[in-house]
């Protein structure tokens, strides 16, 4: 009898009810040639044993909380309010499924309606969906939507300053979709080069801002360069939306990315949460689930999944996306965090992250040529690139000093300038910044 299988003691009664002698008789439809013997796995473990085994595995990791950490590059270390996990741990939220029966799922539905609203407010776009997997797949969905809207065109203009994982994912999907990627290089200022961009044959122009170097892109310039192609802004550091004007303000067609920075733990890369916001005219081509407002039979306001005819379970081969299960619980988590931070907190958090990054930048400028800023004149939000010929060795040395100083760009992609990407957030104290600067002075 296993503790997760309450029916084991009832087997005999069920077999009698079914008029069978053994469970094996229920499996007669499965031919013998397909059968396997005992699984080559250990036997069932007590909870305490599982705790010990996985606990030991967990201890074999160094965490970003054990020492000052300046890692970013797509996963950002921001405050995680205690209330977030308290809400997420409510069984009514995490053990429920997709709200297919809305009458018993108003908790999930209302929370996601709130998430959609938050995404609209942060991006200044009119509509947003109920979440996607992550920023990379959200970028892909934006491009695929653009391709559906402009079926006579095949080209995608995409900045090479996107997070390399997003760019790589786009390359994978584009091949299957018959799209041709034209990758735009960055200039000396670390921003995407827009001169000479020819948007006439393109379905979309995609930039990330802040980009992989942490540099703030010229969004009005990008929109102008996009012409008739869909202008897409990808956001990797979501808290930047607390301080930086979003694509929605400049007429972008899609603002998408990952909301991880708003309180989701790093969790070795996932699960985080993709978001997708767009214009009303593209509504029917939008991927992902949508929660809409309606009333019930008593006239009471309520929420329900709507416009499902775009989705795979109805539209099948002609669906706007193949997505079914999304990242709903993580969207709930972000909704909780944003509700706690509120108007003032979102701004304060972004200001603090930016202020601390600028402070650290200032300290590091004193290192001069030993560890120069890649783009010293450019605006960054909370992340910047410092050039160094052997970044992995440098980081290893700093780790020995007890500091996780950043991400070595060769770890991300070989086409990025060699160096370390340093991200600073409200969680880094002034003392930690001073310590990093001092350590660098020592080792360089």
């Amino acid at each position: 009898m296993h503790r997760y299988q309450p029916g084991t003691g009832d087997r005999q009664r069920i077999l009698e009810f079914l008029g069978l002698g053994s469970v094996e008789e229920l499996f007669t439809p499965i031919p013998q040639e397909l059968r396997i013997g005992e699984l080559p796995l250990p036997s069932a473990m007590a909870e305490e044993e599982v705790r010990r085994i996985l606990g030991e595995m967990a201890k074999r990791n160094v965490t970003a909380e054990e020492m000052p950490s300046f890692l970013g590059a797509g996963v950002y270390r921001h405050v995680v309010p205690a209330v977030m996990d308290a809400v997420l741990s409510r069984a009514e939220f995490f053990t429920a499924y997709t709200p297919y029966q809305p009458e018993v799922s108003q908790g999930t539905l209302q929370a996601i309606f709130e998430f959609q609203t938050y995404v609209c407010l942060l991006t200044e776009m009119p509509i947003a969906n109920a979440s996607l997997y992550d920023g990379a797949t959200a970028t892909v969905e934006a491009v695929l939507m653009a391709a559906r809207l402009r079926p006579d065109k095949r080209r995608v203009l995409v900045s090479r300053a996107l997070h390399p994982h997003s760019l790589a994912t786009l390359r994978t999907y584009a091949a299957a979709a018959g799209l041709e990627l034209l990758e735009l290089p960055w200039g000396e200022d670390g921003r995407t080069q827009l001169d000479g961009v020819r948007p006439d044959e393109a379905v979309a122009l995609v930039v990330q801002s802040p980009n992989v170097f942490g540099v703030v892109e010229d969004l009005p310039g990008v929109k102008a360069a996009a012409g008739e192609a869909l202008a897409v802004q990808v956001v990797s550091e979501a808290t930047s939306l607390g301080l930086l004007a979003p694509g929605g303000r400049f007429g972008f067609d899609v603002v998408c990315g990952d909301m991880q920075a708003f309180g989701l733990p790093a969790s070795f890369g996932g699960p985080h949460v993709g978001f997708f916001a767009t214009r009303k005219e593209y509504l029917r081509q939008m991927p992902g689930r949508l929660v809409g407002e309606t009333v019930d039979a008593d006239g009471q306001r309520a929420y329900v999944l709507t416009l499902s005819t775009r989705e795979q379970h109805i539209r099948r081969a002609k669906a706007t996306s193949n997505i079914c299960t999304n990242h709903s619980l993580m969207a709930l988590a972000v909704t909780v965090v944003l509700s706690l931070l509120g108007k003032r907190g979102v701004r304060e958090l972004a200001l603090a992250s930016h202020a601390k990054a600028e402070y650290l930048k200032g300290l590091l400028r004193e290192l001069g040529d030993k560890l120069p800023l890649a783009f010293p004149q450019s605006s960054t939000y909370n992340e910047f690139l410092l050039l160094h010929p052997e970044p992995e060795r440098l980081l290893a040395t700093l780790a020995q000093e007890g500091i996780l100083a950043g991400v070595a760009t060769p770890r991300l992609a070989s086409y990025l300038p060699a160096g370390i990407l340093v991200a600073v957030t409200e969680k880094n104290t002034r003392e930690e910044c001073d310590r990093l600067a001092a350590a660098l002075r020592r080792v360089l």
Binding site: P42, A44, G74, G269, L307, H313, S339, K356
Partner: protein, 494 residues
């Protein structure tokens, strides 16, 4: 589940906003505030984000607490959604996923700092290989559909490397909608195969289609969405392989035969596994899940990068795979869900996993027999872990499957899947899973029997159901005709 008092009819968080309320406090800023005009581009700065609410921590806690009270969940009771496998989500999994050593690890830390995380991924892959009898697993896909797309992209690459431009993917009409959608997104065209009258794959039709030479793959769910095991699956695999095509297996129904049969022996070339179904990771109100894809050696070269490898007792991420399809997402996978699945597999072990499939099949067959007097069984074929009824006997009273589902909510159960698979008109797809006791199943049968009786004596009651849930039946037509997809200060009415 009904709102106990009017005060619990909870407004939107934006409507609860009070100017000046503070929900979270950051530590005081310990560095100077820069001059934003100097550090940021002139057009780049925004003021406070308009429309964000202001609430105290207490208000936020109460808001989400009240919302949660409006949800039915697995922890409350039976959740018999067919093909979703709504089983118990063990609490130890939640504790372990939250261990700082897992939750606070950054994916781009140097490999020597994350050996524990890489080890977990490696061990999970080994366990999934033991269970499926396949050659390798990618843990990258975030969901089943994502896995399907990944598998189909690998098949596409394999054909490309062979120099073959096969365009067609065959999919049975009983398939889940993600199958054709994924195939199309992978660049194929879909041809639907009609099922036999027994609800299974039509082997003769498959053979006919294969003659064209344009078939890249067959996508099939085993057992299928009717709960029926495909008796000819091995033969189908052989036919496909003889003609140079591939077998993609949708693993959504794996719960029916873990520890008893293996997709490897069935001849699958690629198979996605829904960790949030078979392996107990929570559904979270719609996700996140995880959809690892197991492949045969035929497709191994095309796995997405990176792949976790082990050498000299150390684990590393291998990006050097020349035939790989590339990346299908950022980083390495929904690691938090991988931890949970690993904990589950360890908790169950070899005997517990087999018992899981046996319990799933026993429970479903119990319901099949117990409900048969009251509801029309869609297919006579033997079924494994799920069974499909339809509303044929209730239709004459003007009651349909949706009405039955809504009335079931009044009895305190979540409804089965309705209106899927498409091959059954008025379907009710029931999957109890392995984590239900006979007591819970008997209560469900009683409720369904009562509803069948009500359908005869008082059909109006069903047509206007539900009556006791927090909200009554929703006007879904209005939701689609008058689209309100976000809160706007003027538009949302009470």
């Amino acid at each position: 589940m009904k709102a106990r008092t009017l005060r619990q009819r909870e407004k939107l968080v934006f409507e609860r906003s009070k100017p000046g309320a503070v929900g979270y406090q950051l530590p005081k800023l310990d560095v100077p505030l820069p001059d934003l005009q100097a550090t940021l581009p002139p057009t780049g700065v925004r003021e406070e984000v308009a429309g964000l609410p202001e609430l105290s921590e207490v208000d936020v806690v109460r808001h989400f607490h009240r919302l949660s009270q409006w949800n039915y969940s697995v922890d409350e009771g039976l959740y018999p959604l067919g093909s979703c496998t709504m089983k118990y989500n063990p609490r130890i999994n939640e504790e372990l996923a939250r261990l700082p050593g897992f939750a606070q690890v950054h994916p781009l830390q140097p490999e020597e700092q994350v050996q524990g995380a890489l080890q977990l991924m490696w061990e999970l892959e080994q366990a999934l290989l033991a269970i499926t009898g396949m050659a390798r697993v990618t843990l990258q896909p975030a969901a089943g559909a994502h896995g399907e797309l990944t598998g189909m992209l690998m098949i596409r690459k394999a054909l490309q490397e062979r120099g073959e431009a096969r365009r067609t993917v065959l999919i049975p009409d009983s398939a889940h909608g993600t199958n054709p959608a994924s195939a199309v997104f992978a660049g194929f065209t879909v041809k639907e195969l009609a099922s036999t009258s027994a609800g299974t794959l039509d082997l003769a039709a498959l053979e006919r289609e294969l003659a064209s030479g344009d078939v890249a793959a067959l996508m099939i769910t085993v057992p299928n969405t009717l709960g029926v095991f495909e008796p000819e699956i091995r033969r189908a695999a052989d036919l496909l392989h003889e003609k140079g095509a591939f077998l993609y297996m949708d693993g959504a129904n794996l719960n029916a035969f873990v520890g008893i049969a293996s997709p490897g022996k069935m001849g699958a070339d690629a198979l996605h596994i829904n960790l949030h179904k078979t392996f107990s990771t929570p559904h979270g109100g719609g996700g996140p899940g995880a959809g690892p894809v197991a492949v045969s050696s035929r497709l191994e070269p095309y796995l997405p990068v990176p792949v976790v490898e082990k050498r000299d007792g150390k684990f590393f991420l291998d990006e050097n795979r020349p035939s790989s399809i590339g990346r299908v997402r950022s980083f390495y996978g929904n690691f938090g869900m991988l931890v949970r699945a690993m904990a589950y597999i360890l908790s169950l072990g070899r005997d517990g996993l087999r018992a899981m499939a046996e319990a799933a099949v026993l429970n479903a067959n119990y319901l099949r027999k117990a409900l048969s007097p009251y509801y029309h069984l869609a297919y006579e074929s033997p079924t494994l872990h799920e069974v499909v009824f339809d509303d044929a006997w209730q239709k004459s009273a003007g009651v349909n499957n949706m009405d039955i589902a809504k009335r079931l909510l009044d009895y305190g159960f979540h409804a089965p899947t309705v209106s899927f698979p498409l091959v059954v008109h008025g379907a009710l797809m029931v999957e109890p899973t392995d984590s239900e006791s006979l007591e819970e199943l008997e209560a469900f049968v009683q409720a369904m029997a009562a509803i069948a009786q009500e359908a005869k004596e008082n059909p109006e009651l069903l047509k206007t159901a539900p009556h006791t849930t927090p909200v009554r039946r929703l006007d879904e037509v209005r939701a689609a005709r008058r689209l309100v997809l976000r809160y706007e200060p003027q538009s949302s009415g009470e």
